[in-house]
Symmetry: C2
Subunit: 222 residues, 2 copies
DNA sequence: GTCTATATTAGGATAGAC
DNA sequence: GTCTATCCTAATATAGAC
């Protein structure tokens, strides 16, 4: 396993070098590399350049530290999707922007998709945590996840106007996200099957930036 | 975490109740539930109904046991895909069959996709292991993974005949697999976002069986 | 706030009886 | 082959000096 420290995991340029931040950044890097269960507190302390006892001083336990990292990563994952999906632009442009945003983001943070999938599959508490993040449902008609409603409306409009084949909004979104996220989550597998090294994978993703928008939009032509 | 013992993990109906098989089945169930790093040998022994020392008698170490389970799961994942992809039928039928086969398979073994993704992301040895399973490349022109070549030939033919939009074979396959596998790997996440319980997810997948073939084939219409 | 030193348990692995 | 008992390291967590 090649070490790959993350200088700015959130990618938002917050560079306050408090000890707490250093620890959280280090935990971020380590948890994403080897998974929560596989990570060692000592390894995180080393990566942060601080003493192991400090991790407990700031976060009390490994579990709390893990929760903090998960929160940050999950928020990052949904933030862009939400912003684009809620913006006031036509559906086709949204699709193009979501694809571009995700592919670009994961080139910078390649471990994030796999990490979130692993974490959510292996730790039941994470589902609850994610639920509290995306918010409880407002009512029976207003879905909890706000951008789902915005998307559904636009899809229904285009379908009604005969500009798009009918598709359930959740299938629409599932397809879009699958196509963007899966190759990153399954990168080690794809690298074996397609014989790609790091450069080869980057090339594969570049290729994909052109392929995906046409593929997806074409799929819904009437 | 709800326990969900797997009666016949491989789904091939091999029911020889040797102790070794019982242990492997138990390890299979536990590793897929909580991940390799998160699993405890004691937990596996309990699930198998045998003494912890027996695990070491048959498999020497946790790592070897983990490798055995990974081998079995990965083989199962590629077996169906390979069989269908190499069969002597037209491309459109292949696509339909691959989708149907995967969705049906994962309804029976819901943890498999997430497990393989986690395992391959968190343990570098697995890439090597998978590589030795799918085989080394035969030559520069013959790809290692045999069904890739078969698919590529059919794609090129259809593209040349003007029956399909041009697409790189690896992008074709990546799209197909992404659409089938991702929703299972990301099931806990989708369940939160789309507010689905177990029954709801089954319904979502049923819906998907109809959506995916049309979506995919339509995407490649000229 | 940050360190050193230590407590305490967990968990993989083995020895040896049967 | 299967069990009981035990070893021993690794790993989380805390106490207490500075």
């Amino acid at each position: 396993m090649v070490k790959q420290p993350i200088a700015d995991p959130t990618g938002d340029g917050d560079r306050d070098d408090t000890t707490e931040t250093k620890i959280l950044d280090a935990a971020h890097a380590v948890f994403l590399r080897v998974g929560t269960a596989g990570a060692r507190m000592q390894e995180i302390a080393d990566e942060a350049g601080v003493n192991k006892a400090l991790l407990h001083y700031y976060f009390r336990s490994k579990e709390r530290l893990a929760a903090a990292v998960f929160e940050r990563v999950a928020r990052g994952l949904f933030a862009r999707l939400g912003m684009v999906a809620m913006s006031d632009i036509d559906l086709e442009t949204k699709v193009r922007r979501i694809i571009a945003a995700y592919l670009d983001e994961f080139v910078r943070t390649p471990y994030a998709p796999g990490y979130v999938i692993c974490e959510m599959n292996q730790n039941p508490d994470r589902a609850q945590q994610l639920l509290s993040m995306v918010g409880a449902p407002v009512s029976d008609t207003v879905p909890a996840v706000p951008f789902l409603g915005a998307l559904a409306k636009q899809i229904d409009e285009r379908v009604a106007a005969g500009q798009m084949r009918p598709i359930a909004p959740r299938q629409f979104l599932a397809n879009l996200v699958s196509l963007c996220v899966f190759p990153f989550a399954a990168r080690p597998m794809l690298s074996v099957v397609f014989r790609m090294d790091d450069a080869g994978f980057r090339e594969f993703i570049e290729e994909r930036k052109a392929v995906l928008p046409e593929f997806f939009l074409n799929a819904l032509r009437p």
